[in-house]
């Protein structure tokens, strides 16, 4: 599919900004990347490929994303950590009145206190992006990860 250069740039800039916000653990900004009615999920490839819907994190609206942030900030207890996103191979796969569909690979590294950096989660983003008040926002974001296992716990969104 021939993609206008400006659109390709806009999508890549959006994903770069998204990664920067998560890498800085600026969680309060994270829901702002999504539309009011949205779907965000982190789902193993094993389930996604078979059409099975069970995800390890599932938010069905911006409100639920905000609730997740409140839980991370106020109620969950976890070891301090740094996360680092590498997003590449950004491809626009379709454009319709429902939005722009985008696929991209991601690798997320985790650094715990007194530990070497390790690969935390690798997979692909399957996104549907729409224009909302002049800004590009995620109407859907499926984080489909390749591994069957997640090391220990997944605190921050991907």
């Amino acid at each position: 599919m021939a993609v206008p250069l400006v659109l390709q740039y806009e999508i890549e800039a959006l994903l770069a900004e998204y990664a920067a916000v998560l890498d800085a653990a600026d969680l309060e900004q994270w829901p702002e990347f999504f539309t009011e009615q949205c779907l965000y999920e982190i789902i193993p490839r094993e389930n996604y490929d078979r059409g099975l819907p069970l995800a390890i994190m599932r938010c069905e609206s911006k409100g639920m994303l905000k609730d997740r942030v409140v839980a991370i900030r106020d109620t969950m207890m976890y070891e301090p950590r740094y996360m680092r996103h590498m997003i590449s191979g950004v491809r626009v796969t379709g454009e319709s009145p429902e939005g722009i569909t985008v696929e991209a690979n991601y690798a997320v590294f985790e650094t715990l206190i007194d530990d070497l950096t390790h690969i935390f989660n690798v997979g692909r983003y399957l996104d549907r992006i729409v224009r909302d008040g002049g800004q590009l926002k995620f109407a859907e974001k499926h984080c489909v990860y390749d591994s069957v296992l997640v090391p220990n716990s997944l605190i921050y969104p991907l």
Binding site: S61, M76, V150, N152, L154
Partner: protein, 187 residues
Amino acid sequence: MVSELSQDFVHQPIQGCGPMVATFAQIVDLLRCPDDAEPLRYASGDLLCPRCARRFSIYEEDLAEILPSRPHALPRTVSPQYRNAYIEAFEQNYRDDETSLAWGAEESVSQTWALKRLRQANLMGPAGLVSADDSEVMKLSQDGISPYADATGVIEMGGRDIEDTEHMVTEVAIRAFYRHYREVMGF
């Protein structure tokens, strides 16, 4: 002994349990402040602790559906297929060198009910709102005890009794479970 327990389970509904909690207001009644165990109140979009004034924001009441519901006996309307699958999943006999955990039985249900189950999955697993902390604590505990492979360590949380408490920050339930387990197994 195992088959005796099995018969009890199949034929007697769990005593003293109400229907599943349905509304947000009913769920709020079950919640306590994690700091001081005071019952939380719903006030202008937040959950509020009247004692320490700590606020927990709630943006989307849908998320509350994943909060605990009371255990309940299988209703009479449950299909025989589900009842059989449930009993088969939870009522297996195991050898003493096996470990297995039943999570549920296959359900044939409406889209709405399936969605509820998908939301409930936010509670458990590596990103679970309830279980992620457990994984973290167990990792820290393991880091702490693994240098002492030849020693025996005991970590206690809140004593040894099985008295009722007004909050859920307690290991009473698990102590009571193992007390009963020891009796049943004759340990």
